[in-house]
Symmetry: C2
Subunit: 259 residues, 2 copies
């Protein structure tokens, strides 16, 4: 009955928790939001890798049965070097697999500067389906716009139009939401892109992957659902407000200090 650890740089990973709750309602989640050191998306790979290892260690100390690295940036740059005695899932591979399966041939990827610069989605997509056309765009203002709560807003729409224009020009049929904040912009992005472009939420994809992997390993929870618990490294109040909006209800928060 150990919880699944979920780690993100901040509040965005709660969209992954939302996906896990839907797909695996019997599982309990221990969440860690490294709010003291966010954002990860503009930091160097070395720094992101160092922070990620410390965060995973903290979740391991609390007895999780596996860890989801919900942060796309951390998944992109830190996953290969991560040390852990329990299974670790990133969001890139499941998201790329879903996009490669769904696309008619042209995939767009949006994410933070670091995620896009790493080309982790591009590499995974081309490996999974050689010949796939991939176009990527960094969207640095999406996270602050979501944090500001301007989810369906004319300003956000104009920013999105500008970021998406090169992808639209390339004729993409599928868009990978390569940052955990972006599913909160899905209604706006769908309206802008039209019904011909499918959105891939890497959080939903990793929840699907976990369902299979945990079942195969005999690690699925059963019976009554445990309580989710949320750790943050700073500013719990702000996190709590956004968490309530994403998960639809109050969450139990604990402030932990990281070095």
């Amino acid at each position: 009955m150990r919880p699944i650890g979920v780690f993100d740089s901040g509040v965005g990973g709660l969209t992954v928790v939302r996906a896990l709750r839907r797909r695996l309602p019997a599982e309990a989640v221990l969440y860690l939001g490294d709010t003291a050191r966010l954002p990860y998306g503009t930091k160097s790979p070395e720094t992101v890798a160092r922070y990620t290892q410390r965060n995973v260690d903290l979740l391991l100390e609390r007895g999780v049965k596996g860890v989801v690295v919900a942060c796309n940036t951390a998944s992109a740059v830190a996953l290969p070097r991560l040390a852990s005695p329990v299974p670790v899932w990133g969001v890139i591979e499941p998201g790329a697999r879903r996009a490669a399966a769904a696309s008619a041939g042209r995939v767009g990827v949006v994410g933070t500067e670091s995620t896009i610069r790493s080309d982790a989605y591009g590499e995974a997509l081309r490996r999974l389906r050689p010949g796939l056309e991939v176009a990527s765009e960094a969207c640095p203002l999406f996270v602050p716009l979501v944090e500001e709560g301007w989810l369906d807003d004319p300003v956000t729409e104009r920013v999105a139009e500008r970021y998406l224009a090169p992808l639209v020009a390339r004729g993409i049929d599928t868009l990978v939401l390569g940052c955990t904040h972006y599913p909160l912009l899905a209604p706006l992005l769908t309206r802008l892109l039209g019904p011909g472009v499918g959105l891939v939420d890497s959080g939903e994809a990793v929840a699907e992957q976990l369902a299979g992997d945990l079942a195969r390993a005999g690690l699925l929870a059963s019976g009554r659902r445990g309580e989710d618990h949320f750790l943050v490294t700073d500013a719990a109040e702000r996190f709590g407000q956004l968490a309530g909006r994403i998960l639809g209800g109050a969450v139990s928060l604990e402030l932990v200090e990281v070095i």
Copy 2:
């Protein structure tokens, strides 16, 4: 001939360096941008105070003759608890003094969430000039918009219109730019507010204060100007690009590790 230490959470403090270069051209600056841990504006006072003390210690180890805390958030929440054997200047007090002297009676203050929540400008302004009307607005998207380089842009204009609307409604005659990034938006803000509203750049105000204080203490540099030097805690490349734009020329960068 020791340098003046200038510390900011990131690249924004370079507007203070620009002001120091103009006002005190003989002085050398040792700059520290804590880019690994930015932004400070959304973090708790305790965390900001801890980071600020470490950053000041690092500058002291390098032999500075005084430290300018260019970051408004750090000035607002960390300055009173700071330990230092050399003089330390924050930007709030000089900025507030200049605004109190210039205003016809109604001052607006814009800044990060933490700076505005601290009400440090409001307290200083009312202490310096009782009866002054002060209205404040947090502008969380200004920093990411500046970092994106959208300085004079229709999107930034719409965001600014929305943030400034309550201040315009209050009839402010003076606006304090309570964040080191904001002087880069000065042309756009001036256009929006019209010639009847004066802008106060706290960086220019602190440079003026230093000129007086250093002269009185016999600490002014003389002779040929020393080289400025810039320390960053992460992602030097990104910092270098923005620094070049703000200071108008390449800067010598050194990456330092902070715990």
